[in-house]
Symmetry: C3
Subunit: 344 residues, 3 copies
């Protein structure tokens, strides 16, 4: 990944700009970033995950961002950081090239009368904006997005492409939403009416706090009576399902394919692993970590790390052990009987 721009940045310039300690030649120029294994002499790499420590000795990178302890073993120039990953992320942003669409409404967009597009907003090709909705200044709506009725896109928010805000969705400032995401779709509310299901109207909306990020093909239903809420700085990966009336606290991050059922309340600063599930109407307190593919079946009142699931095994062993899970209560009772002995 090499920057389009001229001749990059001097290492001493980077050190000063990001508050890092430089070990090595400050005049070296960096014109891109890469991995320890892949970066070349004009590129910057980083070491944050101990898994990759063994790659440090052989790196061809021109410089490496890392912590003080690892810097001892660095064969290249070093930018020493208290948090190498964070420092690298900030430097890498210098080399990012993203589309920067011009403000204004694309000729191929359809904006209904009664929709408000503030000056400085950008409405991309083939977008649809319904009456009653507002796109604030500085917001960028990429191609083929649908902004349904009664929605707000906050300032500097960025809908990359093909995002759908179905109904009554309110985005704060600097919200970023990736393609295929659907917000404000009907919650899954059904009442059994004797002979068939009857749909429960979904009268609420969705409120997304400032600085949230929502992944590709993630879905967030609107509330039945009140709103589905993400507080500020919530980070959702791809293909996550958030049901109606869920409330997610600030700074919580969820990995791909996680799902939260209706009316569950997740605290602040939680980390929800990929494919994990939270059942409906539960409370999860602040600072809870749920590991991947675990199912939360009861409310969690204490911060900490929680898991469910059985271990990966070679299939033949798994088959033998799995049969025994069906006998586990029986096994426990027989063990207790033995302990009580004497046996007959």
């Amino acid at each position: 990944m090499t920057a389009a721009g001229a001749d990059g940045y001097r290492l001493d310039e980077l050190a000063r700009r990001f508050g890092l300690t430089l070990r090595g030649e400050g005049a070296r120029r960096i014109d891109g970033v890469g991995t320890l294994a892949g970066a070349g002499p004009s590129q910057l790499a980083f070491l944050a995950n101990p898994r990759y420590a063994a790659q440090l000795a052989g790196t061809r990178a021109g410089a490496v961002v890392l912590d003080a302890a690892s810097a001892e073993n660095c064969p290249a120039a070093a930018l020493v950081a208290a948090d190498a990953y964070l420092a690298f992320a900030r430097i890498a942003a210098l080399f990012e090239r993203l589309p920067a669409p011009a403000p204004g409404v694309s000729a191929s967009a359809v904006v209904e009368p009664g929709a408000v597009i503030e000056a400085g907003a950008s409405i991309g090709a083939q977008c649809f904006v319904a009456a009653g909705s507002r796109v604030c200044a500085g917001a960028v709506i990429g191609p083929q997005c649908v902004i349904g009725p009664d929605c707000t896109v906050g300032p500097q928010s960025y809908l990359v492409a093909r995002v759908t805000l179905a109904l009554r969705v309110h985005l704060g400032a600097r919200v970023r939403i990736h393609p295929g995401a659907v917000l404000g779709s009907d919650g899954f509310g059904l009442a059994w009416a004797g002979m068939q299901w009857e749909k429960v109207p979904q009268l609420g909306g969705v409120r997304i706090g400032d600085d949230c990020e929502i992944g590709a093909n993630t879905t967030i239903d609107r509330g039945a009576l009140e709103d589905t809420v993400l507080e500020e700085d919530v980070r959702l990966d791809n293909q996550i399902q958030i049901a109606h009336n869920v409330h997610i606290g600030a700074h919580t991050a969820m990995a791909g394919c996680a799902a939260v059922a209706g009316s569950a309340h997740i605290g602040r600063h939680c980390l929800i692993g990929g494919g994990a599930g939270v059942l409906g109407h539960l409370q999860v307190c602040d600072r809870v970590t749920i590991t991947a593919m675990s199912l939360v079946t009861h409310s969690i009142r204490e911060p900490g790390e929680y898991s469910s699931g059985a271990p990966l095994q070679e299939n033949r062993l798994w088959r033998r052990n799995t049969v025994r899970i069906r006998q586990l209560d029986d096994i426990a009772r027989r063990l207790a009987a033995l302990e009580k002995g004497p046996r007959p």
Copy 2:
């Protein structure tokens, strides 16, 4: 949630209209609905889930829909119902405000010659309708939907926005489909041809019965030879995956992220929990409930509730117990040996 309409409904009017027993002042006017915790004096709340019973005493709602037993403790006017949730759903529908698009074809839609749009159907902005497809009277196609070749959208069906019917999809009457759903995509059919995979043609279609509902970003593949079928009144939440040749019986409901593999046959009146899976070619009989994130690995012949999965535990405890799952067959054998005693 307050109705746009004038001054709402009198309680005695609601009681008469929905066949409920009124306790309290019939002249009180209701202009919206809310939760027990959130509703104000001109709003109607409900109590159906015992989890929320404790909120009844403190409610500020003008009236509450509930069952006869709970009505004893209701501090507000009560609308007593045999099924409080159903009664509330019906009343709440009075206060729903949804987009009601005009019939006709939007100027920005593309309708290929050979497609049939019946009078009274509405084709939204930027839709595409392919040759050989038909949209029946009263159907509403929201913005940016794709109706591929050889599809039918039945009368009064409603595709909210950005729905894709890829090929040979036939929707009955009053089918409702949420944004991002894809129906009629290729089934996942592969044959190994010695050096590479070879695609198995997917010659069937998808048939969706009357009154079905399909959630956001749900996918339903078309059949390989015959059709993938949902009977009437099947209700699918978001991000569900239905593989080719699956058959789902009437009135079955599936929660978010559930998945059914190819050629499985699910009965009528089943309830499939969120994230649950059903392996291919299995039969699940009528009136089966599968709890969340369970995997159905064999056919089910008896109605009832079925589950798989291990319990959520504090991570340190989980690690200790999980190691033991790998030893479970060994544990069972050692226990049996002890029982046989005498020990040496």
Copy 3:
């Protein structure tokens, strides 16, 4: 499924064309394909899965593709194949009718200046192609696709409809992508910055090898520094999540709803079951099979079949056994103590 074309194919003609051995009347004409249970006298069925062997005796099919052993019991004409499923797939392809769009750019498509559409490519209705991207000769882009900046669609590739290539996605030849799929969206990279999350720029792209297939609503993020890579002939079903920097080896197939976390490396010729997960940074070697809904929590160095998960049980039994999983380490210790006996 009956072919549009005139009067079909003679059995002896099919046998010759596909290298099969014919038992029965070569002059019989076949004008379509079907299942053993559903095919009629002018249709061809097949038997490959032993589950359906019992249907052979009663089939009304005009002919059946099957292996030599089963052919003994075939009541109809037989086309004997070493691999009946593969042979059937090839014959069935004769009866496939798919849309064949004309080359050229649809009038309703938006192609930015600086995008290159090679002669012979087809750009469907309401597509968007960004500057800096190229669509090669023979590629077909169905309706409402988004081809973002710096993408390449290789020759003869087919994007069925509503596919999004967000940024820096490079498709090889003959790649097939189904509706709703999103490639090249931002990887989920976050660094904690003391008070809030900070986004880690995603500077890489996505490279998809020749002959890959990508299912509906599947998501493949672009890499953080290097590319996310699928080698040739990788086959992904619907709703699969591939995180940034994942590498998937040639000929690997993954069933619906599987997910691979960041920087994991999956080998060649692997089979990943539906809903299965692979944690980040792991290595899975060639020729590994993971069964449905299993979670891979450590690297796999040996080819073979691997599983995790607990068995499906009637709910009451499951509840009893599940409680015991929480006690499993205790049970194992108590058993060991008993074995050590004598008991006090």
